[in-house]
C-alpha cells in the first residue's frame, strides 16, 4: 500500500498472446413475457496481462455476459444459445458441466460487485478460502492451505492476515471484505479475472487503492482482466482496451486511447459527454442521454440506439448497421462510418 507522500508508480505491463476469445456469444432469458436477448452476439478477445473494459449502462447485459463466461447465467431462465468461449484454444461451452468446476476459479474467476453480500456470513474467512484452495491444490494438508490463504490475503493488502483469517465477514469493513473477495478470486491462479463493478460499492478513497491492487496483481501474475463498469473514469485508469455495450451488443470496441480520443459510435460519444470533467466545470447542467434503451425482449430491427440518436435516419431503422473498422483495429457498428472505415461485418435485418 502506498501512502499519500509516496509517489505511486504504475506497475509495468506485459501483454502477451490471446487467452480468451469470445465469438458470437448469445445468452437469452426465456421469461413469460418473451425472450430477453441480454447478450446478443458478442465478439471480443483478451490477451495475457491485458485489461479489457466492458462499459455500458445498467441492464445492457454486462453482468449477464460475465456470468455466461462462467456458465453461471441463472438457470432455468437463462440459456446460452450460441457462440464460443475459447479459453487457451478450447471452447469451454463444449465442456460437460461437471468439468466446469475445474475451470471456475482456476481458469476463469470473478469478483462480484457488492462485498457486503458476497461472503458467506456464517463461515470464517479462512474456512471460505481454504475450502476453495483445497480444490485447487488437491492433496495438500490444511496447514499448507492456510499458509497459502495467508499469503494471498497479504498480496491483496490485508494487514495481519494470519489474525484476520479467523474473522467472520461481519467483523470486517467493506473495503477489507472486497480484498478478501479479490483474494478468493485469484487464489486459483486464474488466466482470466472478471471484475463486475468491483469498486462501485466502495468509498472513493478505497476505490483507488483497490484498483492499484488489481493492477499490481496483474503485473505479478499476468492475469487477463475483464473489467465491467459503467464508470468511464475507472475505465480510463484500468483498461488497455474498451468495449462499449448497448442493449445486448458491443457497439464500439478498440484501444483505450483510440476510443477515448475518437469515439465513433453516437452512443459512445454521448457516454463520454455525460462524464463530468474539470475542463467544463463551468457547465451548469451535466449532459445526459435522452430517452430509454429499448426493452431487451422487444428489440427494434434496426440500430438499437436509433430512438435516442440525434443522427438517426431511415436507414438506421431498417437494418442493424454493419461493423466498420479503422486501420488501428478500432470497430464500431454505425451507418455513419460507411465509406470512411472498412466494412468487416454485414448489416443484419
Amino acid at each position: 500500500m502506498t501512502t499519500s507522500s509516496e509517489v505511486y508508480k504504475e506497475p509495468e505491463k506485459k501483454i502477451g498472446n490471446v487467452v480468451l476469445e469470445v465469438r458470437d456469444l448469445r445468452t437469452y432469458l426465456y421469461t413469460k413475457w418473451g425472450v430477453t436477448k441480454a447478450v446478443d452476439g458478442l465478439n471480443f478477445e483478451v490477451r495475457e496481462g491485458e485489461t479489457l473494459g466492458i462499459v455500458g449502462e445498467s441492464g445492457c447485459g454486462k453482468s449477464m455476459t460475465a456470468l455466461s463466461m462462467l456458465r453461471l447465467a441463472p438457470k432455468p431462465a437463462a440459456r446460452t444459445v450460441s457462440g464460443q468461449i475459447i479459453l487457451d484454444g478450447e471452447d469451454i461451452l463444449q465442456r460437460p458441466e461437471p468439468e466446469m468446476r475445474f475451470i471456475r476459479g482456476q481458469k476463469i474467476s470473478m469478483i462480484l460487485q457488492d462485498p457486503m453480500t458476497s461472503l458467506n456470513p456464517v463461515y470464517s474467512i479462512g474456512n471460505q478460502m481454504v475450502e476453495a484452495l483445497g480444490m485447487y491444490y488437491q492433496g495438500e494438508d490444511n496447514k499448507g492451505l492456510k499458509g497459502r490463504a495467508v499469503d494471498i490475503l497479504r498480496k491483496m493488502g490485508v494487514a495481519a492476515p494470519e489474525r484476520r483469517i479467523i474473522d467472520y465477514p461481519h467483523q470486517m469493513s467493506g473495503g477489507m471484505k472486497q480484498r478478501v473477495v479479490g483474494a478468493m478470486a485469484i487464489s486459483g491462479t486464474p488466466r482470466v479475472l472478471i471484475c463486475d463493478e468491483p469498486t462501485t460499492a466502495l468509498d472513493v478513497t478505497i476505490q483507488a487503492q483497490y484498483l492499484r491492487l488489481l493492477k499490481q496483481v496483474q503485473a505479478d501474475t499476468g492475469v487477463s482482466i475483464i473489467f465491467i463498469t459503467h464508470d468511464m473514469g475507472v475505465v480510463a485508469k484500468m483498461c488497455d482496451r474498451v468495449a462499449v455495450m448497448y442493449a445486448g451488443k458491443i457497439v464500439e470496441q478498440g484501444e483505450l486511447r483510440s476510443v477515448f480520443n475518437n469515439p465513433s459510435h453516437p452512443y459512445t460519444k454521448a457516454l463520454m459527454a455525460s462524464v463530468p470533467s474539470m475542463e467544463h466545470a463551468h457547465v451548469e447542467k451535466l449532459y445526459s442521454i435522452e430517452g430509454q434503451p429499448p426493452a431487451l425482449f422487444d428489440l427494434p430491427v434496426g440500430c438499437r440506439f436509433a430512438n435516442r440518436c440525434e443522427f438517426a435516419d431511415a436507414k438506421c431503422l431498417e437494418a442493424y448497421p454493419p461493423m466498420f473498422q479503422d486501420e488501428d483495429g478500432h470497430t464500431a457498428d454505425c451507418w455513419r462510418l460507411e465509406g470512411q472505415w472498412k466494412k468487416v461485418a454485414e448489416a443484419t435485418t
Binding site: T117, E131, M135, H170
Partner: protein
C-alpha cells in the same frame, strides 16, 4: 458467547415467574375444585374442613407463595382424582408415552421436511416441488383430529394394517405419529423451502459457484446453514407443540401420554395435576427456546459476537 448464554438464562427465569403466575391464576379461575370433588350431599362442615386442610381458605398470595415454593422442588401436591399419587408422579408416569410419540413424529418431520424443503427450493417448479407443495398444503389444512379419525377408519378398521389405538409396539406409533407430525412437516418444509430460496438467490451462493465448489457443497454447506435460521425458530415451537398439541391425538388414539392426563385432569378439576402438567410443559418450552437461542449463536457468528 458466555455472556449471551447468561443473559438468555436470566431472561428465562423471568419468563418462568410470569408463567407460574398465569398457571396459578388460571387454575383458580375455573372455580372451586371441591364443587366437583365432593359428593353433592357433603355438608358445609366437611367442605370447610377440607378447604382448610388443602389451604384453599388462605389468602391468594399465601397460596401463590406456597405454590412457588413447592413447585420449585417439583412438588405440586397430591392428585385429587388419582388418590395416593402426587401430581408430579403422574406427569412422570405419562411422560415416556408422550416422549416416545413426539420423538418419533419429530424425527420423521425433520427427516422428511428438511431434504424435501431444500430440494424443492433447488428444483423449484419441477414435479418434486409440486409434490412437496401438495404435502405441505394438505398438512396445513387438514385438522389433525380429523386426519386421525380418517386414518383409523382406513388403515386400522378397513385395511387392518395398524392397531386402532393404545400404546404397544412400533406399529402402534405409525398412525398417531403421522397424524401428529404431518402439520409440522408442512410448516417446517415450507419454511425451509422459502428460506432456502432466499439464500440461493444470494451473492455468496454465486461466489461459492464461481470458486468452483461442487453443487452439493454449495447447497448443503453454504446454503443450508444460512437457510436453517428461520426453520430453527419454529423448530422449538414444533417440538413442544408435538408434546402439548398431542392432547387431541392422544385422546383419539387413547395414547396414555401427558395430553390425555391433562384432559382427564381438567375434566376432574384436578388442580395439582393441571398445574404440574402446565408448569412442566412451560419449563420444557422455555428450556427448548433457550437451547434454540444457543444453537443460533452456534450457527450464526453475528449472534455470537454481539
Amino acid at each position: 458467547m458466555q455472556r449471551y448464554i447468561l443473559i438468555r438464562l436470566i431472561q428465562s427465569v423471568f419468563t418462568l415467574i410470569g408463567v407460574s403466575i398465569i398457571v396459578f391464576s388460571l387454575a383458580r379461575l375455573s372455580g372451586n375444585p371441591l364443587d366437583v370433588l365432593l359428593p353433592d350431599e357433603a355438608d358445609d362442615e366437611t367442605f370447610e374442613r377440607i378447604s382448610e386442610l388443602w389451604g384453599l381458605n388462605d389468602p391468594w398470595y399465601i397460596q401463590y407463595f406456597t405454590f412457588v415454593k413447592n413447585a420449585s422442588r417439583g412438588e405440586f401436591g397430591p392428585s385429587f382424582k388419582w388418590q395416593g399419587r402426587t401430581a408430579m408422579e403422574l406427569v412422570f408416569l405419562h411422560l415416556p408415552a408422550t416422549l416416545q410419540l413426539a420423538g418419533f413424529s419429530i424425527l420423521v418431520s425433520v427427516v422428511l421436511a428438511v431434504p424435501i424443503g431444500v430440494m424443492s427450493a433447488v428444483k423449484k417448479g419441477t414435479l418434486l416441488d409440486t409434490v412437496g407443495k401438495l404435502i405441505a398444503l394438505l398438512g396445513q389444512s387438514l385438522p389433525s383430529f380429523w386426519l386421525a379419525i380418517v386414518m383409523i377408519w382406513i388403515f386400522a378398521v378397513k385395511l387392518g394394517w395398524f392397531p386402532t389405538s393404545g400404546r404397544g409396539g412400533f406399529d402402534h406409533m405409525i398412525l398417531p405419529g403421522i397424524a401428529l407430525g404431518w402439520f409440522s412437516v408442512a410448516s417446517f418444509m415450507r419454511l425451509t423451502r422459502s428460506s432456502m430460496l432466499n439464500v440461493l438467490d444470494s451473492e455468496y451462493i454465486k461466489l461459492a459457484r464461481i470458486k468452483g465448489l461442487p453443487e452439493w457443497k454449495v447447497i448443503w454447506k453454504h446454503g443450508l446453514k444460512n437457510a436453517a435460521i428461520p426453520p430453527l425458530t419454529v423448530f422449538g415451537a414444533i417440538v413442544v407443540g408435538q408434546m402439548t398439541g398431542s392432547v387431541t391425538i392422544e385422546t383419539v388414539f387413547a395414547w396414555p401420554g401427558i395430553g390425555l392426563l391433562a384432559l382427564q385432569a381438567v375434566n376432574a378439576r384436578d388442580y395439582q395435576v393441571i398445574q404440574a402438567v402446565t408448569m412442566f410443559i412451560s419449563v420444557l418450552f422455555i428450556g427448548m427456546n433457550l437451547l434454540i437461542d444457543i444453537l443460533y449463536a452456534y450457527i450464526d457468528p453475528r449472534v455470537r459476537f454481539t
